[in-house]
């Protein structure tokens, strides 16, 4: 028999994990919303950030929180270079080309990780992050609360950057109409380069968090990319705040699936959810239609 307390516990930890999900997929949702490019290498950028934090911790004992800017910069730099060297050249051709290109990047990076750092599963383990906190009989670790806060801060700052700053305005205008933006004096190529790099930075930022709350491995990127795309579609393309809600739905759904059935059916929930959205409401919960 499953007690009410354990349901509440899994509900809450699902909620917390769901907010983390919204950070994991923020970069992909942002790039997709602005540039209409689905970055299939998103998960690998994220894993790269995780590895940077992991090695900084293992070799120099750097605190993973201090390592986050470095991880973000590394992944952002990789995204910058990928866009500059490859993506830019085929930006205006068919969508499928950019899809295949980023898929190629993802295969390349994932196998580069295997070659350099073996296929071992790594966890960024820091003692004080494991420390439990009791709230009305429900337990959360300091690490979980910490990642929750970071995720919320990141989502809201990106939202305000887009809606309040001048650069954000330029990015949104470019997303609506490239040609008109170009005529209005916006350097659309630079906006694209910036948007893609920001996507990389966001992915790199969340890598250490993934390594802290669960683990990273060379193959982990694919699952992240799939989950990120499911959330983007569930939230509705272009709705960044909707991502938090969508993340919570997925997180809670997965947690309850694990409680009621079997941990191995966890991923099945996301996929079924994805099929349902496509059938019932393809524009997503908060999307304005395609």
């Amino acid at each position: 028999m499953i007690s009410l307390a354990s349901i509440a516990q899994s509900f809450l930890s699902g909620l917390a994990e769901g907010v983390d999900y919204s950070l994991y997929c923020l970069g992909l949702a942002f790039v997709f919303g602005i540039m209409r490019i689905i970055n299939l290498a998103h998960g690998e950028f994220l894993v790269l950030g995780g590895y940077v934090a992991y090695w900084l911790l293992v070799i120099w004992g750097v605190n993973p929180i201090l390592a986050m800017p470095v991880a973000a910069a590394t992944a952002g730099g990789t995204a910058f270079l990928s866009y500059r060297i490859f993506l830019q050249r085929i930006r205006t051709t068919s969508d499928l080309n950019t899809l295949i290109l980023t898929f190629g990047l993802s295969v390349f990076l994932a196998n580069l990780f295997i070659e350099c750092w073996t296929a071992d599963i790594r966890n960024i383990g820091v003692d004080w992050l494991e420390h439990p906190v009791a709230l009305y009989g429900i337990y959360m670790s300091v690490g979980e609360i910490f990642t929750l806060v970071i995720s919320l801060v990141a989502v809201f700052s990106l939202h305000f950057f887009l809606t309040r700053s001048k650069t954000g305005l330029a990015i949104r205008v470019t997303a609506i109409d490239r040609d008109a933006a170009g005529l209005a004096g916006i350097n659309v190529n630079r906006v694209d380069l910036m948007a893609f790099s920001i996507g990389g930075v966001l992915a790199g930022l969340s890598g250490p968090l993934l390594g802290m709350v669960s683990h990273i491995s060379p193959g982990a990127g694919l699952a992240v990319t799939i989950k990120a795309f499911i959330l983007t579609v569930l939230a509705g393309v272009g709705s960044l705040l909707g991502l938090v809600v969508a993340g919570m739905i997925l997180g809670v759904g997965e947690a309850l699936t694990v409680t009621f059935t079997n941990a191995s059916y966890r991923e099945l929930f996301g996929f079924t959810l994805f099929l349902m959205i496509l059938l019932i409401r393809p524009r997503g919960l908060f999307g304005k239609g395609l």
């Binding site: 689905i38 490859f86 898929f103």
Partner: protein, 311 residues
């Protein structure tokens, strides 16, 4: 095609080298099937490993648990693959854009998980051992034996590939095939002149999945061992893309040629350079080809001659 038949002679029937080329031929056939969907109908699939694995498992289970003859099981496995493809194809094809590509990526992951977790059916991650090989066939004076002879397996794989090539070739130039090309060109225009867009895409997907699953089933009876990791290996998703792009997506034979060239280079060069991470070259190759040579190895040449004919 002639080269395919001649490869065993060039390798003087050395079982080791032939055993390298059997998966290459299987891959060539899968690439042709993949390219029917992507190159002709314009729908890129990132998860053909799902159909490959479904075919392999379906055939192995039918033979071992229901005592079917492997030959019928291979056909039935093809149908299983085609049916499963419609489950994702029909919802996804109603929508524009990359939904199909992403949905099938998730589908492959989910299928692998199911194969790991439905232990009563698939033996889980432990895998299925001792799958029977194809029973011998007596063709006149010729005795085709599959258990030991690599050469027989090689030629039967080539035969299957040739059948798939012919099927795709005739489908390509049938009315449905022309409709597929129209959908690839521009969906709105195609719908405007009366092409049933969703149905056309679904047919391309189902045929592609059917062929892929049959090759998967053949693979199961050749290799005689299945595990979720080997049958649903991302290799079967990635390599048809690499092969097709490299060989030329606008052609029918290009994907096969591309797959054969890439597996040979992989086997004799990449694997010797980097043992564990050799697959990163496939990713790099995808990137380089799509940016600097999107028409591929054979595509370029064919386009040039077509231009010459016009002038």
């Amino acid at each position: 095609m002639g080269i395919v038949l001649a490869i065993p002679f060039m390798l003087s029937f050395d079982p080791y080298y032939i055993s390298i080329f059997i998966p290459a031929i299987i891959l060539g056939a899968v690439s042709i099937a993949w390219n029917l969907l992507a190159g002709i109908c314009g729908q890129v699939s990132f998860g053909h490993a799902a159909f490959f694995g479904i075919g392999a498992y379906a055939s192995a289970i039918l033979v071992m648990k229901a005592d079917w003859s492997p030959y019928f099981a291979i056909l039935a496995a093809g149908l299983c693959g085609a049916l499963s493809s419609l489950i994702i194809g029909l919802p996804a094809f109603r929508l524009r854009g990359a939904y199909f590509a992403l949905l099938i990526l998730g589908f492959a992951e989910v299928m692998k998980l199911l194969a790991m977790n439905l232990t009563w059916l698939t033996e889980g991650s432990q895998g299925i051992f001792n799958i029977p090989s194809l029973p011998p066939i007596q063709l006149g004076g010729l005795n085709l034996e599959f258990f030991i002879s690599r050469t027989t397996n090689y030629y039967v794989a080539s035969f299957l590939m040739f059948v798939i090539y012919l099927a795709v070739y005739f489908l390509r130039w049938s009315n449905t095939g022309l409709a597929m090309a129209a959908v690839h060109g521009n969906e709105d225009t195609a719908a405007g002149i009366g092409v049933p867009v969703v149905r056309t895409k679904a047919i391309a997907l189902a045929v592609s999945a059917l062929c892929t699953s049959m090759m998967g089933a053949f693979y199961a009876h050749y290799i005689r061992f299945l595990s979720p990791d080997s049958a649903f290996d991302a290799y079967w998703s990635v390599m048809p893309i690499v092969g097709s792009l490299f060989g030329g997506m606008t052609t029918i034979i290009g994907p096969m040629a591309g797959a054969l060239v890439i597996t040979s280079v992989d086997e004799f060069l990449f694997k010797r350079l980097f043992e564990t991470g050799h697959k990163m070259f496939f990713g790099l190759l995808l990137v380089l080809v799509i940016v600097w040579a999107p028409s591929g190895l054979l595509g370029n040449r064919i386009r040039k001659t077509a231009h010459g004919a016009e002038e």
